[in-house]
């Protein structure tokens, strides 16, 4: 194991969480989008994380393998005056629950911070090793 691969592991964690933050931001931004290029309302997106090995000693970092869409049904709101209302007067809104996104947002932020503190501990360990023999 190389001491410096630990930094890469922390960095991969930070990257993954920041990416998740981006996805959450786009979910919140599109929480009322009833029209997309595909002709249906916006679908909530979820990043899928996977473990991957950075060296032959099976040191595992994390990466985002793909973004999946939430298959749950759209939110139906009765509003016949809406331009996107169907024949029955219901408008299909995205399946984004802003409250849930906020919870995920905080969880992503905390996970990011945990990766930062892991990085800092590794840094101070290497610094203390460098101080050996300096009296």
């Amino acid at each position: 194991m190389n001491e410096f691969t630990i930094f890469n592991v922390s960095a991969s964690g930070m990257t993954a969480q920041r990416f998740r933050l981006d996805i959450i931001a786009s979910n919140i931004a599109n929480s009322e989008t009833t029209r997309t290029e595909r002709g249906e309302p916006y679908r909530r997106r979820i990043p899928i994380f996977a473990e991957y090995f950075v060296d032959k000693n099976k040191t595992s970092a994390v990466k985002v393998v793909r973004i999946e869409e939430d298959p749950s049904p759209f939110r139906l709101v009765y509003d016949p005056s809406h331009p996107d209302a169907g024949e029955d007067g219901y408008v299909r809104f995205p399946n984004v629950n802003v409250l849930r996104e906020m919870v995920d947002l905080i969880s992503a932020q905390r996970a990011y911070e945990a990766n930062v503190s892991a990085f800092n501990v590794t840094k101070s360990m290497i610094n203390s090793a460098l101080q050996i023999g300096r009296g």
């Binding site: 194991m1 001491e3 691969t5 630990i6 592991v9 922390s10 991969s12 964690g13 993954a16 969480q17 998740r20 899928i48 994380f49 996977a50 473990e51 099976k58 040191t59 595992s60 970092a61 994390v62 969880s107 905390r110 996970a111 945990a114 990766n115 503190s117 892991a118 990085f119 501990v121 590794t122 101070s124 360990m125 203390s128 090793a129 101080q131 050996i132 023999g133 300096r134 009296g135």
Partner: protein, 125 residues
């Protein structure tokens, strides 16, 4: 010339660094579906290894060579903290990591002290 302190301290520091690596991996994968927590086994093996000392019943017997065990990384298959079968408890992981980092610093300081003693002797007191 050097006593065994250096060897033991070095192994201790290596184990602490390995442990840091494992904590970092667990924290990075704290939200990965199906990830199982890893941990380092060393102290128990050290205890086992130090039990098996050969007795020296004659003054010309050579002492048995104490070989230090190599630390092992194990995967915890039991613990689940979340519905997606992830086994990482992030609070536990962070606190253990900080404690381990401090332990490493203590070992590094002990190493410095040992070197200082030799310096004192070499300088002619």
């Amino acid at each position: 010339m050097f006593n065994t302190n250096f060897q033991i301290l070095k192994v201790g520091m290596d184990v602490a660094m390995l442990r840091q690596s494992v904590h970092t991996q667990n924290i990075a994968n704290a939200e990965t579906m199906g990830y199982r927590r890893k941990y380092v086994v060393f102290e128990e093996m050290l205890k086992e290894a130090s039990k098996l000392q050969l007795a020296t019943t004659h003054e010309k017997h050579l002492p048995s060579v104490r070989s230090l065990p190599r630390p092992k990384i194990e995967v915890d298959k039991q613990a689940f903290y979340r519905n997606d079968l992830n086994g990482v408890d992030i609070d536990y992981e962070v606190t253990q990591m900080v404690a381990n980092g401090l332990k490493y610093e203590v070992l590094a300081r002990l190493m410095s002290k040992n070197i200082e003693y030799y310096n004192t002797v070499l300088r002619g007191v």
